[in-house]
Amino acid sequence: MSATSTKGIWKVISASSMGTMIEWYDFYIFGSLAVVISTKFFPADNPTAAFLATLATFAVGFVVRPFGALFFGRLGDLIGRKYTFMVTLLLMGGATFLIGCIPSYETIGFMAPVLVLILRMLQGLALGGEYGGAATYVAEHAPVGQRGYWTSWIQTTATVGLFISLMVILATRSILTPEQFDLWGWRVPFWISIVMVGVSYLIRKNMDESPVFAKAKSEGNTSTNPLKESFGNRYNLKFVLLALFGATMGQGVVWYTGQFYAMSFMKTVMAIDSSQVDTLLGIALVMGTPFFIVFGWLSDKIGRKYIMMGGLLCAILLYRPIYKQMYETTNVNNKTEIVANTKIVPALKENSKQTMDSIYTTNKEYTDGTTLVEVKTVYLEDGTAVLVDGKPKMDTKTTININWDDKWALILLIFIQVIFVTMVYGPIAAFLVEMFPAKIRYTSMSLPYHVGNGIFGGLLPAISTYLVINGKDNGDPEFYLEGLWYPIIIAAVCFAVGMIYIKNKDLKNTHI
């Protein structure tokens, strides 16, 4: 197929997108089942196993993905896009399936968390290699002037993969009893992966190599050392750095703020019921996902630069007002309590040390339909309260159930953030592909993408949480907004670099 023809492009898109979506599915089910996995493989009372759990979470997101980008990017530029992203697909599917087969910590001891860690790292490696391959493969098939539109389909896969993972877990939970799910049912989403990967492999197997790479190979124009040519060559390195500091760094933080920080903010800071948060986020994502395509298409018309920079600017200017509004929407201090309906139920609960703790459950109702449940645990030892610094040791957990008016207000506020995500993320695959020559494209575009997303984006929850806690300790009345300084500053630097150093190309005449 000619790179300027649209014949068969849907076949290319579906084969590439399906594989990439499955890789995201595999990546997300580990996170979605993190609580179950930790009880099976990483017992909390064992410090070494707990350390391995933290490593499994951090190592994949921050360290391994960029290495996967380097390793598979090099392969993709040496032997071809098609074969490389088939390898990443099989690696991801195999690792995911095997995680579902590992006996628990109780059965094989320390081998269990070690094996999970190794397989999780293989997942990270595969993910690091997959995206660049899929984006490059699709872009090299796409007609001139339509790359933004066609590659934007690849950009939807991360969101769709998250949905599929949640749906499969939800379906498995609904079919099985809670005991069955806890005993063996949690393994089912991992096993299902191998079926999806098998189907995707068969589809991809029958695809042709990218026409651009095939042409370069037939003419002997492929690279012999992609790593050296990508990062050892000053001319190319300057574009790698520009891609990172002028685009992917900001895109990474906007992505993580809009999808993951928003979720964590609602659950932990606003104390909204977890299942309500998942529903709100799900609705906002469904509403926002088509805009990946809209902005990808629009970037073909007016250029990638101004759409991506527009998304960054909106994020910089509007994050604080948006989050302030979110916080105020469910702030019970702004609501009228129906005092007559308030109930306090005391109880005793056996704790892990076989002694009893005192539990006070307070149910409150508000005139707008909001309900609040506050569970206060006072720790007891031999019937008397445990003292810390002279005060009784206690924990308080608050859960708020909000009414539909507040739900729609929050959906709108999350949806706005998802729109920012689609503005910066929709056109970025085409932008990166067009930045580098075919012979080192896979290597050169994969690294800034995964450093921007994995490191700058992936560190967002930890750094933002630190800033919130710091603000709270310092008595800042708006401490809950402090965590936003990290994405705002990173996005602002990225915006400045992007606006000044990135050129808006004439896409109708940009051949890759």
Binding site: T54, L237, K238, L241, I455, L459, V497, Y501
Partner: protein
């Protein structure tokens, strides 16, 4: 515009140095002292992954900008 790009090269270099200071003394080293394992992993990542990336990456970017590598005619 080229002059602005070059002058800003100095700003990126200064930003890299400032970021290094905050990464090491605000986010990195205090985490080692907390005694919590989560903090230890976080500290290691900040000190050995994020800090070198920002210092070397943004510093090199600033140097290239200062040297005129991003001028319009290049």
């Amino acid at each position: 515009m080229n002059l602005l790009k070059r002058i800003l090269g100095l700003v990126w270099i200064a930003l890299a140095i400032a970021a290094a200071y905050f990464c090491i003394f605000t986010f990195g080293l205090p985490k080692f002292a907390s005694g919590k394992q989560d903090d230890l992993v976080f500290g290691i990542i900040i000190l050995f992954i994020l800090t070198p990336l920002i210092v070397l990456g943004l510093g090199t970017f600033g140097y290239y900008a200062l040297m005129g590598d991003y001028d319009d005619n290049k």
